[in-house]
Amino acid sequence: MPAPLIGASVGRKEGQEKTRGAACYVDDMTLPGMLHGVTVRSRVPRGRIRGIRYEGDIPWNEFTIVTARDIPGKNVVTLLTEDQPFLADQFVNHPEEAIVLLAHTDRFLLEEARRHVAFDIDPLPPVFSIEDSLARKAVVWGEDNVMKSFLVEKGKVDDVWARADLVFEGEYETGAQEQLYIEPQGMIAQASPADGVTVWGSLQCPYYVHKALMPLFGLPPDRVRVVQMTTGGGFGGKEEYPSMIGGHAALLSWKAGGRPVKIIYDRAEDMVATTKRHPSRTRHKTALSRDGRLLGMEIDFVVDAGAYVTLSPVVLSRGTIHAAGPYRCDHVRIRSRAVATNAPPHGAFRGFGAPQSIFALERHLDRAARALGLSPEELRRRNLLRQGETTATQQEVLEKINLPSLLDLALEKSEWRRRKEEFAAHNRSGADAVKKGLGLAVFFHGSGFTGSGESYLASVVGAEAGRGGRVTVLAASTEIGQGTNTIFSQIVADALAIPYDWVEVAQPDTSRVPNSGPTVASRTAMIVGKLVETAALGLRDKLRAGGFLGVTYDDRAWAEACDRYLDLHGTLQAQAKYELPPHVKWDDKTYTGAAYGAFGWAVYVAAVSVDTVTYETRVDDFVAVQDIGRVLHPVFAAGQVEGGVAQAIGFALYENVILANGRMVNGKMTNYVMPTSVDLPPIRVFFQEVPYEYGPAGAKGVGELPMDGPAPAILNAIEDALGVSVRKIPALPEVVMEAAGCL
């Protein structure tokens, strides 16, 4: 038996291809006769389109021009709700809405032409904030601007206020955040009535694009093909938006008689027009006993969805389910709403609603502890969820969780007690304008789709054996940097006891791979990885059933068995289809039950310095302790945590999307600031491994968890440093300054 690969940090499957500069991203691909395409957008946040003018000294007859009238099928981006068009026809609902598409061979002329398309739009009254939308200053979506709402009820929260020693209230806000994957979005399409539609692109979810393109052209599944190119980061930003760009490129190609069309967004267009994290506002009202027990929690959570529904109901759902955290509380009510504004639709971004509601909760509990005179770690310790207890949705926790031990480890690694004293003495001394603070957050993140979502998806993975015992994984789950190719190969190599080099993962191409679901929701390792394992074992079982392979075998026997099977049967394939584990029972009507098969659990600690002259905050040290089940690849898992923490430090302190009249006005990397290599602290990552029965080798999800905890831990540390309560992020210097009463 070869040494197990799971748990070992094997080399990245496509690593050297990436370091040689040979990996092929969409803009590295050129097709003969290819045109370039651009999008012309409304600029008016809401209005009725009266006309389109093509002006200036532009040879318009050389251009391929597409408007809504040219769409052969249905003008709607199929996802959850059929409200968003590919191209605005009569009305526009946000300033970046696409109205006209242009294509030409000359990119320079194309840019010139884009500036000479003018629209006559009669403006209609817009809304731009959660409060204005809730107040219905203008009704811009449906009857009341509310796209989706949820209500979670556990116990009788109305009865607890009277018997509480403390009823503590607070309001918290989070801003929009740009995913800022470093590769801008882009797609190439080749489309004609004769050949159907093929798109190649930078994307996370091939079958989402596939699903959106079929009705756009009125084509059956086998006439639409979606191929993922090497993708330079996604973080949720390439979950739904590639459908839009793919549709646009394909419409241009269709009109241009099947010539291939490439649309690559420049950074400014990508930042302002594509989806960002939903801004949020959360209100908490919490009943506590004198000794710090949580008696009741009432939470009102609202997110700004932007102009169209896109994925907002699901983002809202995850934010809602995570809003009461990993705590024991018998009486909980969570109301949540996603409301419309005339900004571009907000969408998926790592964490998917949970970073917003967890920020509010973990800030709130810290403040409540202060009000009770308890330490923040002690208040949490007294309420940590234990195995057998229930979450807000009344999900009984079956996992062998040990939150107190995660908390202990985080306190130990951060030298919590010693540093608390040291920082307090430093701050008291008054010798230094720089104040120091320590803050923590305790949180969880559900792996996989919520509730019955995974059974609706019914994901399928295939495995195929080739000559010499080679095995190819067939799945639509994409490698976007997180390590899909590598962990799938580790799982197969271990399951079949064959060398890692014998395993390859097919390029996601809807004409070749089955639908293993979208690459989202921390589901690829846990859900799809398990299917990969099952499909691989299916190959072995077929070989054994046919008498080609014995109970024990070595590499050579495996290779020979495959060859002999192929000689006789031509192909050797196996498939695995997802089935919900028996403990996952969910009721969509009452919003109760097992929201997730498993959770990642974590305790994070941040140490900060705040300069009381400039009010700049710097994170000096960061400790991230988590249980993500079995760790499949220690280096990649740590990489996910380090990268997630870095992104969350940006969310907490730096990344400020300034929307004016629905338009992002700081769509550049110089005025929308993400952390650079000199802005980050050491990020110290620790795992406590508690294997999960239904994950491959015991693994759970890790991708999103690290996005949830850093912002509240950092803001709690700011309060520890200054004694000033900042309740919104990003905590820019002026925000902290204002909270400190200095503005």
Binding site: G11, E17, R20, D28, I182, G643, T676
Partner: protein, 190 residues
């Protein structure tokens, strides 16, 4: 001024002669005229650092340089880091130590780190962080990148250190458009 100028320069050790539109940046000429697509664009405004190439061993942003400014220069792109079919140690350590995740920023970090190590073979962590601060990475939080640079530095100074191992014959799982014509491959190193 004519629309196009004839440019002569050396790229990855090979002489190149190409007629370029005068308004084209070095980045555009490398990617579009020479097919060296290993160098990436991320903003084309000099903000993200993705387009770093070395001119005479110094990293520059190729999106801010007009190609016509580079007459007679010696340019190194990521495709030129491997020598005699052997990978630069940085190319190995970035692949092995989790420094390349999505990989899009990797060429820029490699070119910049190579310039650093050539200038200063034993940089401190702080020097590394500063030298690389002009390039943005959204995946890693930079820590694995620092570790990969340090590991390459150790490899280079280890007694009897050879110049890494040859590149793999093939990269299984490497996506390539299956029916489309091949995209421009990386230039072969001299």
């Amino acid at each position: 001024m004519p629309d196009k100028l004839l440019m002569r320069f050396r790229v990855n050790g090979e002489p190149q002669e190409v007629a370029v539109r005068v308004e084209k940046t070095l980045l555009e000429v490398l990617r579009e005229d020479l097919g060296l697509t290993g160098t990436k664009h991320g903003c084309e405004l000099g903000e993200c650092g993705m387009c770093a190439v070395a001119i005479g061993g110094r990293p520059i942003l190729s999106c801010l340089a007009l190609a016509v400014e580079c007459q007679d220069q010696e340019i190194t792109t990521v495709e030129g880091l491997a020598k005699d079919g052997r990978l630069d140690p940085l190319q190995e350590t970035f692949a092995a130590l989790g420094a390349a995740q999505c990989g899009y920023c990797t060429p820029a970090f490699l070119v910049t780190a190579r310039a650093l190590l050539d200038r200063d073979p034993h940089p401190s962590r702080k020097t590394i962080a500063k030298a690389l601060s002009g390039a943005l990475c959204r995946c890693t939080g930079y820590l694995k990148i620092f570790e990969a640079v340090e590991e390459a530095m150790l490899k280079a100074t280890a007694p009897g250190a050879a110049h890494a191992s040859p590149p793999p014959a093939s990269t299984p799982g490497a996506p390539a458009p299956s029916t489309a014509p091949s995209p421009a491959p990386g230039g072969s190193p001299a």
